[in-house]
Symmetry: C3
Subunit: 471 residues, 3 copies
C-alpha cells in the first residue's frame, strides 16, 4: 500500500545525474580567480614573489573557512543526532546534501553575483559563501528531519539553493544591504523555507512514530558535540566574509559576547519553565546558539559588547520560550511539525537579528565609525549613504526574505509531496533502518536481549523489518 522506500535505483540515479551535470557546468563555467590561478596571482604582484604572498586572500579567510566547514559538517550533522534511532541519517544525509549543495551553490551564487566575462571565479571566499548557502539548506533539513528520504532532501536542496542565491542577489546586490553573518539570508530564509516545506508535507498520523521522536542518553551527548562546535565557531561564521581588519575582528568579538550572554539566559529559562527546575537538553542544545544567529547582521557594526550581550540574552530567552510554549502550538494549530525546532533557533532569532541590524545600521554615523564607515557600509564610497534609508533597506530585506522563503517553501513542498521519492511511511519515521544497513548481531546464548547491538527499542515487531524490507 505504502510507497516503496527502496533507494536502489532512485538515489544512485539522482546522485550520478546531478554530479555529471555539476561536472559539465563546472567544466564550462568555472575558473580559478586571481588568488588561486598560477598565472594571474604571479602576474598581478608587482613585487618579488615571496614578499606579498601573505596578501593572498587564503591567509585572511582560510582559518575562518575551516571553522565554518566544521559547523556545516560536524555542527549541523551531530546536532541532529539527538534522535534515538536516527544518528546515521542525521550525520549521513547532512553529509550528502551538504556535499551536493556546496557545489550547486558555487554555480548559483556565481551565476547571480559573480560572473566575470561569463565565467565564475572561485577561491576561498566563494567556498565560504557556498558553505553558507549549504547552511541554509541544513536548517530546513532540521524541520523535516526523520520524515524524508534522501532523494527528497536532494530535490529540496536543488530548489532551496537556487532560491537562496536569488534572494541573496536581491539583498546584497540590488538592495545593497549588510548581512555578513546571514541573519536574514541564511537563518531567516532557511527557517521559514523549511517550516513551509514541513507544513505542506504535514503528516496527520505522525503519532505512529512518536516513540522514536525523542532522544536517549547517549544520543543527547552526540548532539552536544554538534552544539558546542556550532557555539565555539559562530564567531568565525559571522566574521568569515566581512572586510579585512577591524570589521572581521569586531564581528568575531561581538558574536563571542552575544553567545556567552545567550548561554546564561538559556540555562536560566530552561530551569524556570520546568516544574521541577530541571534543565532540558533540547534547550541547551539549541537555544544557547540563538545568540549567534541574532548578531548575524549587526555583528560587523559598532554594536559594542554591551549591545551584543543584550541581543544574545534576548535571543536565548525567546528561543527557550519558543521551544516550551510556541512549538506545541505550531504543531497543533498550524500543523507545522518542526522536528528540531528550527523556528526557535533560526526563525525568531533570525528575525530579531534582522531588526537589530536595521536599527544598528540606522544609528551608524561617521562620528562613531570614522574612516571605518566605508569599510562596513559599501555605499558610503558611492556617496549615496544615508543611515536612515540604509536602516530602511535592511528592514525591507527582511520582508523580501520572508516572502521568498515562504513562497519558495510552498512550491518546493508541493514538489516534494509527489509520491515518487520513497518517503518513509508514517509508521517508520525517525528510523535509520529504512535507508541504512543496520547490522543485526547473532545473539549468543546467555544474552537476554539484543539491546547492546542495536541499542534502541529492540522489540520484536521492529527487529523483523529492520533486517528485511518494510513495504
Amino acid at each position: 500500500m505504502a510507497e516503496s522506500t527502496n533507494m536502489r535505483l532512485r538515489l544512485p540515479l539522482l546522485c550520478i545525474i546531478l554530479e555529471v551535470i555539476l561536472i559539465i557546468l563546472f567544466g564550462t563555467l568555472v575558473e580559478y580567480n586571481d588568488d588561486t590561478h598560477a598565472m594571474l596571482w604571479n602576474e598581478n604582484r608587482t613585487d618579488s614573489a615571496t614578499r606579498n604572498d601573505h596578501e593572498n586572500e587564503f591567509y585572511y579567510r582560510y582559518p575562518s573557512f575551516q571553522d565554518v566547514h566544521v559547523m556545516i559538517f560536524v555542527g549541523f550533522g551531530f546536532l541532529m543526532t539527538f534522535l534515538q534511532r536516527y544518528g546515521f541519517s542525521s550525520v549521513g544525509f547532512n553529509f550528502l546534501i551538504a556535499a551536493f549543495s556546496l557545489q550547486w551553490a558555487t554555480l548559483m551564487q556565481g551565476f547571480f553575483h559573480g560572473l566575470h566575462h561569463g565565467k565564475i571565479h572561485v577561491g576561498v571566499t566563494s567556498m565560504i559563501n557556498a558553505d553558507f548557502c549549504t547552511g541554509s539548506v541544513l536548517i530546513s533539513f532540521g524541520a523535516v528531519l526523520g520524515k524524508t528520504s534522501p532523494v527528497q532532501l536532494l530535490v529540496m536542496a536543488i530548489f532551496e539553493v537556487t532560491l537562496f542565491a536569488v534572494n541573496e542577489f536581491i539583498l546584497l546586490s540590488i538592495l545593497g544591504i549588510n548581512d555578513a553573518g546571514g541573519s536574514m539570508t541564511i537563518h531567516t530564509f532557511g527557517a521559514y523555507f523549511g517550516l513551509m516545506v514541513t507544513r505542506v508535507l504535514y503528516r496527520p498520523n505522525l503519532d505512529k512514530s512518536k516513540h522514536r521522536n525523542s532522544s536517549v542518553y547517549h544520543s543527547d551527548l552526540f548532539a552536544m558535540i554538534g552544539t558546542i562546535y556550532l557555539w565555539m565557531f559562530w564567531p568565525s561564521f559571522n566574521s568569515a566574509i566581512t572586510n579585512y581588519g577591524d570589521p572581521q575582528h569586531r564581528t568575531a568579538m561581538n558574536t563571542y559576547y552575544s553567545l556567552a550572554a545567550c548561554t546564561l539566559a538559556t540555562f536560566a529559562f530552561s530551569a524556570l519553565v520546568n516544574p521541577e527546575g530541571k534543565l532540558d537538553m533540547v534547550h541547551i542544545q539549541n537555544a544557547a546558539l540563538a545568540g549567534g544567529v541574532a548578531v548575524g547582521t549587526a555583528g560587523e557594526m559598532m554594536l559594542t559588547a554591551f549591545g551584543a550581550m543584550i541581543v544574545g540574552f534576548l535571543a536565548g530567552t525567546i528561543s527557550v520560550l519558543g521551544y516550551k510554549y510556541l512549538t506545541p502550538v505550531l504543531e497543533s494549530k498550524l500543523k507545522i511539525q518542526d522536528t528540531c525546532g528550527i523556528h526557535n533557533l533560526h526563525g525568531m532569532p533570525g528575525v530579531l537579528g534582522a531588526v537589530v541590524g536595521a536599527v544598528t545600521a540606522a544609528l551608524a554615523s561617521p562620528d562613531v565609525y570614522g574612516h571605518g564607515l566605508q569599510r562596513v557600509f559599501a555605499d558610503v564610497e558611492t556617496g549615496k549613504w544615508n543611515p536612515q534609508s540604509r536602516g530602511g533597506f535592511q528592514a525591507i530585506s527582511l520582508a523580501v526574505t520572508l516572502g521568498m522563503a515562504l513562497f519558495g517553501g510552498l512550491i518546493t513542498g508541493f514538489i516534494l509531496k509527489l509520491p515518487i521519492y520513497g518517503a518513509p511511511p508514517d509508521t517508520h519515521c525517525f528510523e535509520d533502518g529504512l535507508y541504512w544497513e543496520v547490522k543485526t548481531f547473532q545473539p549468543e546464548s546467555g544474552m537476554t536481549n539484543s539491546s547492546d547491538v542495536y541499542p534502541f527499542s529492540p522489540h520484536k515487531k521492529d527487529s523483523k523489518w529492520v533486517s528485511g524490507s518494510v513495504c
Copy 2:
C-alpha cells in the same frame, strides 16, 4: 531532611542577576580596542587601507584563540564525561560556568591590568586571556565534579575568577614574570584552589554514591574526545599570547614535543603499575596531557625540543604515579576527594612547570637569545634584567600562587558550604537526573529492561526518583 535540590528559582535568579550585572558593567566600562574599533583602526594606520590589515592582531591570534576555545568547551567539557551518569552535567555545567566566567574574567582582568583612562579595552587578546582564566575555573570544577549544584559552581566561579585576576596581576604586573602558558597562573592556581574547595566540602558519606563514580565503556570514549582535543591544541594554548614571531612559533613546537614524550611515558607507566600489565583509561585520558602543563612557563624560552621532551617525560611519569599511589592517600589521609584527579594533571605538573620555568629563566643569556632576549623577557628593555633574579622572581611567583590558591579555596569552600545552593545529597552525587530532565521511555511489551533508553543502572529504586523529586 536533605536540602531541596530544586533549581527552579535559584538557578534562573542567579543567572539573570549575574548577566544583568555583567551587561551593566560592560556598558559602563568596556570599549573596543585599537584593533576592533572602526575609527581607531582606520586612523592609526598611516598607509592605505587594505595594505596593513594583515597587521591587525586578529590574524596573529585568532586561530590560536579558536584552538583555546575548543580546549575550554570541548576539551574540558568532554574530558569530564567519563562518569557513567554525569555526561549532561559535565558538558552542560562546563558550558554554563565557562560562558559566565569568560565575561566576568574580561572585567576582572581588565580592571586589574588593562584599564585605559578608566575603560577596559577588548580584542582577541583579551578574549584569549578570558578563556585562560575560565580554564582555571574548569580545572577546579574537576575536583568537585559530581558533588556540586550549578548554583554552587557559579558562585565558585565568581570568587575564583576574581582571585585569579589578582594573582595574575601580582605575577605579571608586579613581579613581572613570564608565564605565557599558565603553568602557575592557570594550572597551579586552578588545581590547588579546587583541591582546597573540595577539602572544605569533604563528604564523609560519599561512598553512598560510589557505584556511580566510575566510567562505562562509551563514557570513556566520549572522554577521549576531550583528551585528544586538549592534547592536539595545547601547543596553541601555550603560544596563544606570547610575542609574535619566533616566541609564538617556538612555544608551539616545544609543547608539541613535550606532549609526545609525555604520551610515551604515560603508556609505559600505566602498564607498569597494573598487575596484569593492562592500560588504564584514566591515565591515558589525563596523564598524557601533563606534558602540556609542564612546559606552560618555559615553553616560550629556548628550552629546546630536547629539554621539552625531558620535561614531558617526567610530567607523564609523575602524573601516572600520582593517580596510582597519591590520589588514594589524599582521599584517605587528607580527606581530599578529587573526582578527576586534578592534582595529578594540573597540580604537580603545574609546580614542575613553574620550577622548569624558573631554571630556564635563570639560565637565559644574550649568547643564546641574541636580540630575541627582549622579546621573551620584557625587563631586558628596562635594563633591569638579570637572569638569576629573574629566576628568583619566577620561584617567588610559585609560592605566591600556591598561597593565593589555598587561601582563596579555603574561603570559597566555606562560602560554598552554606546549605542554600541545592547541593546533591551524598546518595545522589555523580547523577544527572538530579538537575536534568532525563527522559524516561515507555517500555513497550517485549522489552525486559529499559537499559537502552537510560543506559546506566536502571534499577527500580533509582528510576523512581529520576522522574520525580528526590527530597
Copy 3:
C-alpha cells in the same frame, strides 16, 4: 599454549627505551631553525622587530598544521572506533604510535633530507612532515587493526617511519617529483606496506573472533566523527606544505571539490550495490574520503575544479566497488585480512592519485601557469624542466613507492611474526579487554544483565576473562 599477552614489562620497557633514545638523539642532533630560534629570527630580519613577524612561517603554516594534527589524532583515531569492542585500542594505540612516530619521523626525515652542518633544523614545516609520515603508519595500522599488540605496532612504526623517510628522499630529493599531499609517499606507501604486513601475519583461524569484527550502532557514530574530520580538513592536509600563495590556495580548493564529488559517488554506489538499496556505513565512513587521497599529487597543479571533481567521482566509485567486490577476494584468495579496507581508501585511490599527478604534470605548460610555473615545479628554475620527463619521473616514483612498500612490509611482517610481542590469540582479536582495564561493574539487584556497563556481548564466558587473564 598461546603466547602471554601481558604487557607489564614489554610495553613499558619498549616505550622507555625508545623515548630515552629519542631524547638523546634530539639532544645531539636537533636545533631550532631560523624561524623558531630567538637569535636567528631576530638577526635575519633587516627591518624593525614587529614589522616582519607576519613573514614567520608560523603564520603561513600553523593553521594547516593544526588541521593535519586533528586528522592524525582524531581523524584516524576515531575512524577506527567502528569496531564494537575495540574503541579504547583504536583511539589509544593510534595515540601511542602517533606520538612515537612523529618524534622518530622528525629524526629520520631530518637525517635524510634536512641536515644543516650535521644538525636537523625544526619548525612548523618539519612538524607537518612528521605528522604526514605518522599518517602513513596509521594507514598501515588500519590493515592490522585488532590483530596486533601495542608492542608490535611500535616495532612496525620504527621500520615504517624509516622506510618512509628513505622513499620520500628518493622521490623528492633524487627524482625531484611533486607530491605535496602524499598520494604516493603517504597513501600508496602506507597502504601497500600495511597490506604486505597483514599478509605475512595472516591468521587462518581469525574466524574465531569474527563476531567482534563488526560495528554496533554507537561505534559507527563514533567512527563518523573520525570520517567527518578527515573529510573537512583534507584540503588543509594536501595544501599544508605547498608553496605559499596561489599553490596553497589552489590545492585546498581542488581538494574541496574533489571530496564533494567523491561523496555523491559514494552514496550513489553504496545504495546501488546493496540489494535493498540501503546505504552501508562502511562505505560512507571510508570511500567518501578517497577523493582527498586521489588529488594528493595533482592538487597543487592547475587541475581545475572540473578536473578535481572527475577525479573525486572516480575515486569514490572505485573505493565503494573495492569494499564490495575486491576486499572479500583479497581475503579469500590472497589471504590479505585488511580490517579497515585500507586498500580501498588509500591503496587504489593513492595509485589513481599518482597517475593523475603524472598526467597533470606532463600537461603543464608556461601558457597555463605563467610565472607561477616555477612555484609548482621546482626544476623550472634549474632549467632542466620538461613536462614529459617530469610526468615520467612522477610515474617512476609510483613504481619505486610500490616496490619500497611491498619489500618493506614483507621484511617488517616477518619481524612482527616473532612470538615475543604478546600478540592476541585468534580467539581474542578485536577485543579491548586484552590490553585495557575494562571496568566491571557490581550489578545491583534488579539488573538482569550488565549490558549497560560493558555494553557488548556480555555473555558469561567472556566476562570472566575480561577481568582476569586470558592465557
